[in-house]
Amino acid sequence: MSKSNTILYLDGVSVSFDGFRAINNLSLVLDKGEMRAIIGPNGAGKTTMMDIVTGKTRPDEGEVFFDGQVDLTRHDEAEIAMMGIGRKFQKPTVFESHTIEENLMLALKGPRSIFPALFHRQSAAEARQIDDILGIIRLGDKRRELAANLSHGQKQWLEIGMLLAQDPKLLLVDEPVAGMTDAETEETARLLRDIARDHSVIVVEHDMHFVRELGVKVTCLHEGSVLSEGTLDFVSADERVVEVYLGR
């Protein structure tokens, strides 16, 4: 398999914690500009896979390449984030004691060292970028409110907005619609489809209705490796997937 046109390339990746194999010989390839949905029952290794890609966990074996050439196993979280991989956590994680605007300001692409931050003055270009993102995530009217006062769904959007502010090449989005109303779920699907136009995206989600809304290729993980891959209809017709989900 060629790595050249891939944004993310995992081959034969395994990792175990205290003897438990969370990821077992996992291979997964994401093309540039692709959006992929990853489904799988609890404990299938979805979040661990994201930990490996973002540098939080080192794999015991296997290859993890970003953009065809960067070996991600040699870098830590901050370096990987700077290369252009953004990650949204399962539980929405925003800076609650800051306003929406400040949250985005801290996420904006730019130098990441202390002295520039100490003497930072917001430029007009940055203000414009923040305005754009506020428009995309539809929180413009709340820009000066503390993030702590947002609803659960709005925090999810703010976190997605912070990923956009980073201007990453690849977005890893972990359960973006957990705890959202149906209307919010549809809105989030629209938002992610918009984002996928010019970014590569991996979405981990349990909600099949939402996955159908996304309308993208689906990978089903089970016990740390790929069980089935294809369109949602193909995957959900796969007997092994049905078995895993229904736990026969």
Binding site: T54, E77, A78, A81, M82, G86, R87, F89, T93, V94, F95, E96, S97, H98, T99, E102, M105, L106, A107, R112, S113, I114, A117, L118, F119, H120, R144, E145, L146, N149, M162, Q166
Partner: protein, 410 residues
């Protein structure tokens, strides 16, 4: 919206604090030196020395606030940085004694003669110059904090584990400085100071000058902390406190962000120690006691951490209380201190400043509600009569300060 009000209110509070400190730096020395001792306005010298000491404690509490209040690093070893700054100043003051010591040795301080030192240890070189000692006041605590923080934050030691190793750090230094062969006077520490920059440390004018220096330095530290906290870096500091992993996945190096604050804070604590030593006339290993560092945490908690002004108020109040209490009921002071900490934790989790804010927030909400009921004029008159002069005079400025841009009514 209420968050913005509090933030704006806090800014005004800090500005007032800076102004008060600078005013005190001028007025108190004047009242001590220029006013006759029989006058009602005369400030006795012992009060000048005592409050000067409190101001040093306040600076120490402020330095802890930068790391604890804004970055969530609960250091239980800040007393160590304070003591190291104090020792650097103490070494300068020892060298100023010259041949006026008991043994009359022009080079060696008394304790070295007593302990049969033949020559000055290498690390005492340069301390006869004030500029060098001043540099060491900044460099020694700063360097220790940098090295300590480098390892601790890089290995991602956080929370209670970090607190424990800071405590271990100050305890290790306590044991080291107790040793006679460390060359810092062992158990007795450094004392019997005569001159600072050629002026008698006991003289009223010198004490007043040290008091003024402490107040000005505290004001300066407030300005610096305020600027740091208000910058983008300050926002990052709080972001690390609230969601460290989020900052990492945004590409920030949380360890460097913490390290910078920790080092700046240690330097501030060192300056506090250096101003403290000439005012109390002694520095000994007791300053490294872990309980001292814990007391600093209590000051900050009582005043309200993460507010800049709170820890200063906390340090002044608790220490004034301590001076009074140890005079009246000496055996009960530690119980009172422990009780105070429990009471603050249970009843005022955000300290005095936090209580003040929520009380003001409630009052403001009530006022806004009654304004919204179109009963503005009557309420205004009523409050003017019930609280003469204060609240009506303050309201307009408050609004224009806190809310520079037009906003919708609440």
């Amino acid at each position: 919206m209420s968050g913005r009000f509090f933030a704006a209110g806090a800014d005004r509070r800090i500005a007032i604090t800076i102004f008060v400190l600078l005013a005190v730096a001028v007025i108190v020395p004047l009242l001590n030196l220029a006013v006759s001792p029989t006058s009602a306005f005369y400030v006795p010298s012992y009060i000048v020395a005592l409050t000067g000491k409190y101001l040093c404690y306040a600076l120490l509490a402020l330095s802890l606030d930068l790391v604890w209040g804004y970055c969530g690093i609960l250091s239980l070893g800040h007393g160590a940085f304070f003591a190291l700054g104090g020792y650097a100043m103490g070494m300068y003051l020892m060298r100023q004694i010259g041949s006026r010591g008991v043994y009359g040795n022009p080079i060696l301080p008394d304790f070295m003669v007593f302990l049969n030192y033949k020559e000055l240890p290498w690390f005492w070189t340069g301390f006869d110059h004030f500029w060098f000692a001043g540099l060491m006041v900044l460099a020694v605590p700063g360097l220790l904090a940098f090295i300590f923080g480098w390892f601790a934050f890089r290995s991602r030691v956080t929370g209670v584990y970090l607190s424990i190793i800071t405590q271990a750090m100050t305890y290790a230094l306590l044991l080291a400085f107790f040793r006679n062969d460390m060359g810092f006077g062992g158990n007795n520490g450094l004392t019997d100071f005569k001159d600072i920059l050629g002026f008698n440390v006991q003289a009223d004018a010198t004490r007043s000058a040290l008091f003024a220096a402490s107040a000005i330095m505290l004001a300066l530290a407030v300005v610096i902390t305020w600027a740091i906290v208000g910058s983008k870096y300050g926002k990052l500091l709080m972001a690390v406190r609230d969601a460290e992993s989020r900052t990492r996945f945004l590409g920030w190096r949380a360890e460097n962000i913490k390290l910078f604050a920790f080092t700046v804070s240690a330097v501030m604590a060192g300056i506090a120690g250096a101003l403290y030593v000439p005012q109390v006339g002694i520095i000994n290993p007791g300053e490294f006691e872990p309980s001292n560092s814990i007391e600093v945490v209590i000051w900050a908690a009582v005043g309200g951490r993460g507010t800049i002004v709170g820890p200063i108020i906390g340090a002044l109040l608790v220490n004034a209380g301590k001076s009074w209490f140890t005079g009246v009921l000496p055996e009960f002071w530690l119980f009172a201190l422990g009780g105070l900490f429990v009471a603050v934790t249970l009843l005022l989790p955000k300290g005095i400043i936090g209580m003040w804010d929520s009380w003001r927030g409630n009052a403001r909400a009530l006022r806004a509600a009654s304004l919204a009921e179109e009963a503005g004029t009557e309420v205004g008159i009523a409050s003017a009569t019930s609280k003469p002069a204060r609240s009506p005079a303050r309201n307009p400025g408050e609004w224009s300060w806190s809310d520079p841009e037009p906003q919708a009514a609440e």
